[in-house]
């Protein structure tokens, strides 16, 4: 008797689940009626500049920090390669 193979059934379920869920989410989205408006305080347009400054500087710092982090790892890698090269040279010296 041929053993019951689950794979095609599971594949079918996966495909239909993905279809259902991607179709369901926009369908669910249609049901909501609320469109909230932000209640912003206007007033003097210059008062909130510190926040603007903070956003842009933090963004820049974050990316520069990441680039620095990557170059650090690169440097460590290079020194590790050097050490490995030395060890292999020593080995060859002994043999």
């Amino acid at each position: 008797m041929k053993p019951f193979s689950l794979k095609p059934l599971v594949t079918l379920l996966v495909v239909s689940a993905i279809f259902v869920s991607t179709a369901a989410i926009p369908a669910l989205a249609q049901q909501d009626i609320s469109v909230q408006v932000t209640n912003a305080e206007s007033g003097d347009t210059e008062t909130n500049l510190p926040y603007l400054f903070a956003v842009y500087s933090i963004t820049w710092i974050a990316f520069f920090a990441y680039l620095y982090y990557m170059s650090q790892r690169q440097r460590n890698l290079r020194s590790e390669v050097e050490e490995l090269r030395q060890i292999l040279a020593e080995k060859e010296g002994k043999d």
Binding site: D32, E41, E80, I87
Partner: protein, 237 residues
């Protein structure tokens, strides 16, 4: 210089140029929002970082599926690198969001759907990085992370549609399939430009990180061989 290096340096130059251009446009050209004032200019960075974070996590999904399917490590390198940059981007998203919320809503944070699901998104991919760190050595870690990388992506559409699914104070979606908010045309153009700039930056960082990871992998492999050859565990660094 190899053709790869030329392309990479070229990409960097393009990215830097675009960044300078959009900075000029954001601060000198685009009109001020009359409801929120100058602080509204945060939007360009906040929304762009969001979109590129979604892209990053999509690439994690692609890399994870590729790794589980094909098994070659290049897919894993792609997934991990994209996850790392994605966490960086999502951290920036949360921080810029918080800094924008305080002047506009009066609070640093509120437990409304968009913010909550975005925080969860951050946690999911932080967990991804933790999982890689805490896994046993070998392929297991990569496989576990790939599983998380696939199911974790389910939060991205949830975050995107959260403003439609639930009552929310967060502004409505402006671009994409759920778009309903309105935006001045010059602001819209600048927003697309900023998204493009950040995407270029992301691609540059991704290429860098993937090649770094690949090199680290290779050195690890060489070290394994060297250890075998000398019959001693090597204590480097």
């Amino acid at each position: 210089m190899s053709i790869g290096m030329v392309l990479k340096n070229g990409l960097f130059v393009v990215c830097a140029t675009m960044m300078l251009v959009i900075l000029y446009l954001i601060f000198m050209w685009v009109p001020t929002d009359n409801i929120q004032g100058t602080v509204q200019r945060i939007m360009y960075f906040h929304v762009s970082v969001a979109w590129v974070a979604f892209l990053a996590f999509f690439i994690v999904l692609v890399g994870s599926v590729g790794y589980l399917w094909k098994g070659t490590s290049k897919w894993d390198h792609l997934a991990y690198s994209a996850a790392e940059i994605g966490v960086l981007l999502t951290t920036l998203l949360l921080i810029t969001g918080i800094l924008w919320a305080k002047p506009i809503w009066g609070v640093w944070w509120t437990w409304e759907p968009r913010l909550t699901t975005s925080l969860m998104l951050w946690l999911i991919y932080v967990a991804y990085l933790m999982l890689r760190a805490y896994s046993p050595p070998g392929n297991q870690g990569a496989r576990y992370a790939a599983v998380l990388g696939i199911i974790g992506f389910i939060d991205v559409p949830i975050v995107y549609y959260s403003v439609k699914l639930w009552r929310t104070v967060h502004p409505q979606v402006i671009v994409g399939p759920a778009a309903s908010g309105s935006l001045d045309s010059s602001m819209r153009i600048l927003l697309f430009l900023t998204v493009a700039t950040f995407t270029v930056l992301f691609v540059y960082l991704l290429i860098d990180r993937v090649s770094l990871r690949k090199s680290e992998d290779e050195v690890e492999w060489v070290r394994g061989i060297a250890e075998q050859a000398s019959h001693l565990p090597l204590s480097l660094r």
